[in-house]
Structure formats: structure tokens, C-alpha cells
């Protein structure tokens, strides 16, 4: 039963006031507190204020801090951004709070259709320093019509990571230069893979997956999925050749059937299931983090098929910038050979400045690689990367191919059917 107990008269009035008060005042108070904000001003005491967006570990924070010393009239407001592309595109689409300087990752070609958002660096005097940087890297920052939107930051030269102890079991050479002499082409690599699989009775495999072969061959190729006129090249001989090589690896059974960038891959490199793989210089860190127990057991040799590049980033000036000349000066300084060297020392960002490649500061014996100086190999690769062009849809179309290769490898799909599906998927992507 309900017992309703009356209170003292008058008590209700007190309730009423406090209740109504709360109802009205609290939301208003909270909202007004919320509307206090911090306005950013563009001119702070006669100095020029520039905003820089970058992602964690893409630029040396020490170098950024030194900007104000080197440029006394510039205040650099550097912000680390996560989910980088989403934020950039939203800001640009909303035409609001677009940064003055921004980093762009290896997917710079996805910004080519929107090159009007960026300032042509050649008009700011970029050509004067062009000779200091690797030509192919410089070239990647140039849009199809010749406008330069990206200034070179770091690069991702590729090489072969391998386990000399497992190679020895298979009767393969163990010294890096000897390995390079023995394994010059991808066919040589696959043949060595057959030998290795037999010798280790299937306990180790030459390479992690078919997709690594495909991606690494792409990293070495001067022609990819599009030409500068944006014609689709995905059904042509050069792509087919790379596809066939990857499929061949699967047919010969020399892959460990382990996708890269997965937990399974970490497991596989930790316990010797994977005897080697081709990858970019930044894979060193991945390897060191994911397989610390194999320290000292790896070496680096030139990759089969020659020099290649996978990854790397750029700096750009947006048209929202009111002081493009000053912005370019900052960019140029941030990426000066001396500062790129610092970036390598602090963050292992592999330089694009040619003079750094020979700099003794970059060369030391590395314990994880048995005291080998791996920079020699990567620098050699960096110097010889061919000129290439990545179209805006390159990575999306490439995804269709790598997805199908996964099906060939993991679900035994017929390679020819997979090729056809890849073509259809690529066409579909281009229509969206």
C-alpha cells in the first residue's frame, strides 16, 4: 500500500525554488562556460604565426622546437594530429582552420585531384634546392600537370631482411654481398625458396606471403597502375608479370602464408617460420619491436629485383597560408640535410637529402643485425630507385589486387579467376 506522508507546509516551497532554479540556471551556466573558448590570433606581437600539422614521429620534435630560434620572427604552432587524412579533408572541405604547413604521407597522390588547395612550391623557389634531394623522391611530390605540391621528407628504401642461420641450413650464402650475388632476380629468390623449404622440412619459409612479393615488386617498378594522363594500366603486361611472380611463389609453396602487419606475422618472425622478407627501412623498427628475442640473428642485403621505395612523406604549403614565403623557408629548414640527419638519429626517419646518405653519422654497426651497418644497403637502394608515378587511385586499385592474392593464397582461389575479379573490382572502384 502506498503511504503518503505529508511534510511540513512550506517545505515544498523551498523545494520548488531550488528545483526551478536548478532547471533553469544549471544548463545555462554550463552552456555559457562551454562557450568560453580560445581564439587563435594570427599575429602575435608583430611575429608571424604559422600552423603546422603533422603526425607522431613524422618530424623530429627537437627540430620543431628549434624553429623559433632559427626564425625569430616566426611562431610555429605545431600540432600532432591523429586520423590525419580525415581531419585534413574535413577542414579543407569546410574551409575552416586549414593549417599553413602540413605533412603528407606516402599517399600524396590522393591529393593530386585537389592540388588547387596547395601552393606550387616551385613558385616559392623550391628548384634552388632540388639538387640536394633524391630525384625520384622530388618527382613524387609533383602533380601530373607539373605543379609541385610536396617537399621531400623521409623515404622508405627497400632491401631484403634475412636470417643467415636459416639460410645456412639451406646451403645458401650468409654474407650480405654474397646473398646479393646469388639472389639477383625474383626468380632466383623463389628458387632459393624451394631449396630452403626442402632443407628445413617446411619449418621455415623464404617469404611471409604472396602479397609481399607483389608489393615489393611494385615498389621497384617504374610503372604502376596509372600513367600521368590517368589511364588505367592495371591489365597490362607489367602488372601481369608481377602478379604471375606472386602467384608462382604460392604455387611453389615457398610462402609461410602469413600476412604482414598481423599478430601472426609477429609470431612467425619470432620463431623462425619466416626466413626472410623484403621491406622498407622502417620495417627495422617493426622487427625490433615484434621479435626482440631474435636480436642479432638478422641481416640486410640488397633486395632481389633491385632498388625500390615503399613509404615516405612530404611537407606542403596550403593556399590557406597567408605567408607562403615564410612557410616555405620553414619547410626548407626543417628538411635541410642537417635536420634530416637529426631526424634519422632521433626517429630513424630515412633522409631524402643525398648528402646525408654518405654521412658517417648515419653509419654504425647495429646490434640487432649482427653489427652490420644496414644503412649502407638502404642508402644504396635509395640512390637507385627508379622514377615512377602514383596515380590518385593507385592504392585503392592496388587493394583489389592484394585482396585477390589473399584469396589465392589463403582460400585456394584459382589465380586466373582471381586476376579477372581483380580487374572487375578495380573497374568498380574507378566508377565510384
Amino acid at each position: 500500500m502506498i503511504h503518503i506522508v505529508p511534510t511540513q507546509p512550506g517545505a515544498w516551497h523551498g523545494h520548488r525554488r531550488s528545483f526551478l532554479g536548478v532547471c533553469l540556471l544549471l544548463p545555462l551556466l554550463l552552456l555559457s562556460l562551454a562557450s568560453c573558448g580560445l581564439q587563435s590570433s594570427n599575429n602575435t606581437g608583430g611575429k608571424i604565426s604559422l600552423t603546422l600539422w603533422y603526425w607522431n614521429n613524422s618530424i623530429d620534435d627537437n627540430v620543431i622546437k628549434a624553429v623559433s630560434q632559427h626564425f625569430p620572427n616566426i611562431v610555429l604552432n605545431a600540432q600532432k594530429i591523429s586520423d590525419y587524412d580525415t581531419k585534413v579533408r574535413t577542414s579543407m572541405a569546410g574551409h575552416h582552420d586549414v593549417p599553413d604547413i602540413m605533412g603528407i604521407n606516402a599517399n600524396i597522390s590522393t591529393y593530386f585531384p585537389d592540388e588547387d588547395q596547395f601552393v606550387d612550391l616551385r613558385q616559392l623557389g623550391a628548384d634552388q634546392v632540388k639538387s640536394q634531394y633524391l630525384g625520384w623522391k622530388w618527382n613524387l611530390g609533383i602533380a601530373p600537370d607539373g605543379k609541385q605540391i610536396g617537399f621531400p621528407m623521409d623515404t622508405g628504401p627497400t632491401a631484403l631482411f634475412y636470417r643467415p642461420d636459416i639460410f645456412a641450413q639451406a646451403g645458401l650464402p650468409t654474407d650480405p654481398q654474397a646473398v646479393a650475388a646469388r639472389i639477383k632476380t625474383w626468380d632466383d629468390y623463389l628458387q632459393a625458396g624451394v631449396q630452403l623449404k626442402a632443407a628445413t622440412h617446411g619449418k621455415s619459409y623464404m617469404i611471409d606471403s604472396t602479397n609481399t612479393i607483389f608489393t615489393q615488386m611494385m615498389a621497384q617498378s617504374p610503372t604502376l597502375f596509372f600513367d600521368r594522363a590517368n589511364h588505367y594500366l592495371g591489365d597490362q603486361a607489367h602488372i601481369r608479370q608481377m602478379w604471375n611472380e606472386a602467384v608462382k611463389a604460392n604455387t611453389l609453396g615457398v610462402t609461410a602464408k602469413v600476412q604482414s602487419s598481423t599478430q601472426a606475422w609477429n609470431e612467425a618472425v619470432s620463431n623462425g617460420l619466416i626466413a626472410s622478407f623484403a621491406g622498407a627501412v622502417w620495417m627495422k623498427q617493426s622487427l625490433e619491436q615484434s621479435a626482440p628475442n631474435t636480436a642479432g640473428k638478422w641481416r640486410v642485403a640488397p633486395a632481389p629485383g633491385g632498388a625500390g621505395n615503399n613509404g615516405g612523406s612530404f611537407l606542403a604549403v596550403t593556399t590557406a597560408c597567408q605567408y607562403p614565403k615564410e612557410a616555405f623557408a620553414v619547410i626548407q629548414w626543417l628538411q635541410s640535410p642537417a635536420n634530416q640527419l637529426l631526424g634519422y638519429k632521433d626517429l630513424q626517419l630515412f633522409p631524402s637529402a643525398i648528402s646525408d646518405l654518405n654521412n658517417p653519422g648515419m653509419h654504425q654497426p647495429e646490434a640487432f643485425f649482427g653489427r652490420e651497418d644496414t644503412t649502407t644497403i638502404f642508402a644504396q637502394s635509395a640512390r637507385q630507385v627508379p622514377l615512377s608515378y602514383y596515380g590518385p587511385e593507385n592504392d585503392i586499385v592496388g587493394g583489389a589486387f592484394t585482396d585477390q592474392l589473399n584469396l589465392v593464397e589463403f582460400q585456394k582461389k584459382n589465380p586466373d579467376q582471381a586476376w579477372n575479379t581483380a580487374q572487375q573490382e578495380a573497374q568498380r572502384e574507378l566508377l565510384r
Partner: protein, 312 residues
């Protein structure tokens, strides 16, 4: 815990029996409309324009920055004829059946059991809620490790029990089970707490009357608890349907934007995200999101009808 004669405190007023003049219809209903208005105002201000924009966008081709290009119904046609999208829809419903239904049953059972407990009930509640506040980054790392093919704890346990290891992240059904396990892990406790809150409102006398009549625990559960809990059950079914059909986080962190090998873990929302945010096809993505909306709408209405019919 609950006593039979709880009192509420009602302020005393003189009971005035004077005739109340008939208020105008509007004045009579005004407080009601004012009470529900805030949501609609906020929605009109901040919901409508993005929705309209999204509809407009569905007929365009747009990379997120530059100019838009009108393409008519092309996006919708492409989506409805894409076998990958079809697979995503199928996966979504399969995973929903495999995860949401067991999850709700488990939540109900846990809630019922826990509600009856005396000791350390609160500690249990905190722990059951933990999955929902553990960070997504942490969940990514942990579950990827748990599902590792050779050294993952799950496979290690299976092989220790002489059971075959499962290729959680590459097998086509295994991937769906892995996602389902993650969903059940993450949402059971959450829904159990919803049910517990609902159980709070069931008076003790009802249970006592049942006991006096000689009902067993199972009888009480099915004849008393469930019917009284119906509104809350409806709530969890509807919100789990919507949530389950929009499943995104778990497959993305476990398998990546494309839903893993053969897209076997791809759900509708992940497909939309993949197309819009990872491939920069924002117009296409908008069209896909509207197709998904209608699918979710239809299925939710179906669920609602089923539960409502049960009520009558």
C-alpha cells in the same frame, strides 16, 4: 533491500475542491510538448542539415575536398550490384545472429542471477561494465594477441586440451566467430546492467507471492520476471538490433578496413567506412549509408512487431 511499505514524500497541500475551469486544449498539452521539444529542436538544428547534405551527397561523386560531380543514381546502382556489399550485408546478419542473440540471453541470465545475490554484487557490476570502458586500442592489441594462430592464448588452451587450433583471423567462419566472441564479451555486461536496472523496478511482494504459491526459481523467472521486464527487454532488443546491424569497431580492429581475407569479416558499416573514409569515395559512401539505413529500419520494425505481438 526492498521493503514492502516504502513511502514517498508528497508535500502537503490543502485539497481544494473548487471547480477547475476547462483549460484550452493547447494549454493543457503545452507542458507535454515543451517536455519533449528539446530533442526535436536539437535534431532540427544539428541533425537535419547533415541528413539533407548526406542525401544530396549520395547523388554525387566527391573525394572530400574538391568539387562534386553529379552522377544520378549511379552510386546506388553500383552499391546494389556490388558482390562485396552483398557479402557485407550477409556477414552482418550472420554475425548478428551469432552474437546478439546469445549475448542478450546471457545478459538476462547474468542479470537475474546477480540480482539475487547478496554479497559483492556491486563488485560484479563494476567488473561486468569494464569491457565497455576498456579502450579500443587496448582491445585491439589484446584480442589480436588472444586470437594469434600459434601463440594466442585461445589456441594455446585448445591445443593443451588436445583440440585443434582455429585459424581465427583467416578462416571464413572462424573470423565471424572471432568477431562474435568480441561482441559478446563487450556487450553482455552492459546489457546485464540494463536488465538489472529493470529488475530493480519489480517489487519484492510479487516474488514473495510467487514463493508462497510454491513457484520454483525457473517458474518465477518465466512467469513473473520476464513479463514485467518486457519494456526493458524491448529496449535491449531494439538497441542491440540497431547496434548489431551497425557493427563496426570489432571487425575493424580485428581484421582491418576490408574485413580481412575474402571480406569474410566485413560488415555493412565497415564497408561504408572503407569506401568513404579509407578510399575517399564520399558520395558513394553516402549512398551506401542510406541503403544500410533502410535495411536497419526494416529489420528493426520487424523485431518490434515480433516483441509487441508477444506482449498481446
Amino acid at each position: 533491500m526492498r521493503s514492502a511499505t516504502e513511502t514517498i514524500v508528497v508535500p502537503k497541500r490543502k485539497v481544494e475542491r473548487r471547480a477547475v475551469p476547462p483549460r484550452s486544449k493547447l494549454r493543457q498539452y503545452l507542458p507535454f510538448y515543451l517536455s519533449i521539444a528539446p530533442y526535436y529542436v536539437v535534431f532540427l538544428a544539428f541533425g537535419i542539415i547533415p541528413i539533407v547534405f548526406s542525401i544530396y551527397l549520395a547523388f554525387q561523386r566527391w573525394d572530400g575536398i574538391g568539387r562534386m560531380q553529379f552522377v544520378g543514381l549511379s552510386n546506388f546502382v553500383l552499391a546494389l550490384t556490388d558482390p562485396v556489399f552483398g557479402k557485407a550485408v550477409l556477414n552482418t546478419f550472420l554475425i548478428w545472429i551469432m552474437s546478439t542473440i546469445p549475448m542478450l540471453f546471457l545478459a538476462l541470465i547474468l542479470a537475474f542471477f546477480l540480482d539475487q545475490r547478496q554479497r559483492s554484487k556491486f563488485a560484479y557490476q563494476v567488473c561486468y561494465f569494464l569491457p565497455n570502458i576498456t579502450s579500443v586500442v587496448a582491445i585491439t592489441l589484446i584480442f589480436n594477441s588472444l586470437f594469434g594462430p600459434q601463440y594466442g592464448l585461445i589456441n594455446l588452451t585448445l591445443t593443451a586440451l588436445h583440440l585443434p587450433a582455429v585459424q581465427w583471423l583467416t578462416g571464413s567462419w572462424a573470423m565471424k566467430w572471432a568477431i562474435s566472441i568480441m561482441v559478446i564479451w563487450r556487450w553482455t555486461g552492459y546489457n546485464a546492467l540494463v536488465y538489472m536496472a529493470g529488475l530493480q523496478s519489480i517489487p519484492v511482494e510479487v516474488y514473495e507471492a510467487g514463493r508462497i504459491d510454491g513457484a520454483s526459481t525457473i517458474d518465477i523467472f518465466f512467469r513473473i520476471t520476464l513479463p514485467l521486464l518486457r519494456p526493458v527487454i524491448l529496449f535491449t532488443v531494439i538497441s542491440s538490433t540497431i547496434g548489431g546491424l551497425s557493427l563496426f569497431t570489432e571487425p575493424q580492429v580485428l581484421l582491418g578496413n576490408n574485413g580481412g581475407v575474402g571480406n569474410e569479416g566485413l560488415t555493412m558499416s565497415l564497408y561504408q567506412y572503407w569506401q568513404a573514409f579509407a578510399s575517399y569515395h564520399f558520395g558513394y559512401g553516402a549512398a551506401v549509408s542510406w541503403i544500410i539505413f533502410f535495411i536497419i529500419l526494416a529489420f528493426t520494425l520487424l523485431n518490434w512487431k515480433i516483441i509487441q505481438r508477444g506482449q498481446n
